[in-house]
Amino acid sequence: MEIASGLLHGFAVALQPSNVFWCFVGCLLGTIVGIMPGLGPAATIALLLPLTFKMDPSGGIIMLAGIYYGAKYGGSTTSILLNIPGESSSVVTCIDGYQMARRGRAGAALGIAAIASFIAGTVGVIGLTLIAPPVAAFALSFSSPEYFALMCLGLALVVLLSGTSLIKGLLALLLGLWLTSIGTDLFTAQARFIFGQATLLGGIDFMVVAIGVFAIGEVMGSIEAGEEARMLPVPRGIRNLLPNWEELRACRFAFLNGSITGFLVGCLPGGGATISSFIAYGIEKAVSKHPEQFGKGAPEGVAAPEGANNADTGGALVPLLTLGIPGGGSTAIMLSALVLWGVKPGPLMMTESPDVFWGLVASMYIGNVVLLILNLPLVPLFAQILRLPVYVLFPVIFGISIVGAYGASGRIFDLGLLVGFGLLGYIMSKLKYPSAPLILGFVLGDAMERALRQSLMMSQGDVLTLVQRPISAIMLALAVVILLIPLFGWLNRLRMRAITENG
């Protein structure tokens, strides 16, 4: 009953004309970003975040979320037509999607991707609607030790799944923790790591780190790669974009598999859309009566991963909105956005900010319909974006990065930091250091330190308080087990397989 009334309230918020408009803008931008290789949703959300500061929080988060899940819809277009994933979560769609396109079924492949995305995206939002309230109610019993343990568990999962080297993941995380320590200590007003610069007393702006590491780093990587690809022709007309009955029948289980797998994996911090899409593809192939068709243009090979990477969105928002724990780069930026607007994600968000919480959830139902409409008949139009020369696109990204970093503070100093973080993002990518743990360390570092220090204050310095409370003890034990996984041969082989297939 509480859920139904909350959802009704959410629709009242989401259906306000201004919010419908922002939902449409987010979905449109997300689709465009998803189509363009070299610019991810995390970078786009970071770039556009400064422009949302003056917006109403409901409208702002509805738009940013639209970019987040819209990019997953759009990513399939490039995978199918170019054999280049627009997003990392669309890597697996290349395998069968491009083969279908080569066999003259590009329209059907695009149609299956859009239908799977719509079904699984909607199932994911239903999962979010039903699961978020009980998770939030459970989390109300959490105190500082539980929050500290929860953050350790979330960060351990992110580190485990973000790259092949656990050591590099942990080092990236520690770097993020250090960067967030720069500035004034909230408990004692002690200046830390400011290198004699008074401008650093307020700390480093999150936007500068996110835009530098994601946007500038990605552009430098794309300029280095300098790939050119030949696009397969896009069929025109809605009839040519609809799969035939046999193809739809073949995808029945894939729609369900993608929906459930994507949502469950999405709930885990660090899981992410890429891993969920690979798992869904693996399950689909394992249970198929025709596994030999996979890799040669099997429609299920498009439906399962595309469904999974869209259902993942609903799952990823469960820990973000109910616990305040983001699971990846994009959700970490959305967490920062909520905090900047004065909204505190966590177990009380549903009662303290019902407009934002339920408005966002309801907007995702609307967004999925908007995306289906955008992605079926307008695919040929969107495909034209791929003809935009990169020598025009990349300077524009630099320009938006400058606007984003300078607009937040109005200081040239921050542009200098942006230059530095851009180089850091590029070097990390070259040396295969994952960037997600750095961003999550930066976002959660303050809260983690606060929870740890408060726990020790409560227990008068007794560290055992962290393991004497059952929930906290279980989560810390799980975090330790997760970090020990690389020591167990067969488990580590599974982890490495998931990550290397991940690209």
Binding site: G221, G422, G461
Partner: protein
């Protein structure tokens, strides 16, 4: 030694040095106060962890005799680093010349030098994109951007 092994050793050394710096700095602050853990408490422990993990990374790099054989494409890397250097210079220039001029020059460099397009194309893209940014952000959206001696 291959690129990644070198990179691991060098980045490991840099991060070990950073970890040592964090530990040294934190020793200057209160580790524990009457109220509880002080400002040095958290940095001290992640600094220690950073040193330990960095050393482990260096040891792993040294031990992996048959590691990956990835090599550097210097031409491609040069393109990326050249773009970054131009971006850095444009930020330095921005303080004196403002956004419009510095961004136009950056765009011109990227189009003409990095992507090797004709100078006329580079000029058109540079002027058009700089003007578009100026009209969209400072003029239409009232978003402030670094201004030069001419007020833009």
């Amino acid at each position: 030694m291959t690129f990644l092994k070198n990179g691991d050793a060098i980045s490991g050394a840099a991060l070990a040095a950073l970890g040592a710096y964090i530990v040294m700095q934190s020793r200057a602050w209160d580790y524990y106060t009457l109220d509880g853990p002080g400002p040095a408490f958290f940095p001290f422990w992640y600094g220690v962890a950073m040193v330990a993990l960095s050393l482990l990374l260096i040891v792993n790099a040294a031990r992996n005799g048959n590691g990956t054989t990835e090599t550097i494409d210097w031409r491609a890397t040069g393109r990326a680093l050249g773009t970054w250097l131009a971006f850095a210079l444009s930020v330095v220039l921005m303080e004196f010349a403002g956004f419009l001029i510095s961004f136009a020059l950056l765009t011109f460099f990227i189009v003409a030098v990095i992507f090797q397009r004709p100078l006329a194309t580079a000029g058109v893209v540079a002027i058009a994109s700089a003007l578009a940014f100026h009209l969209i952000f400072p003029v239409a959206l009232s978003v402030s951007l670094p201004a030069g001696p001419f007020g833009f």
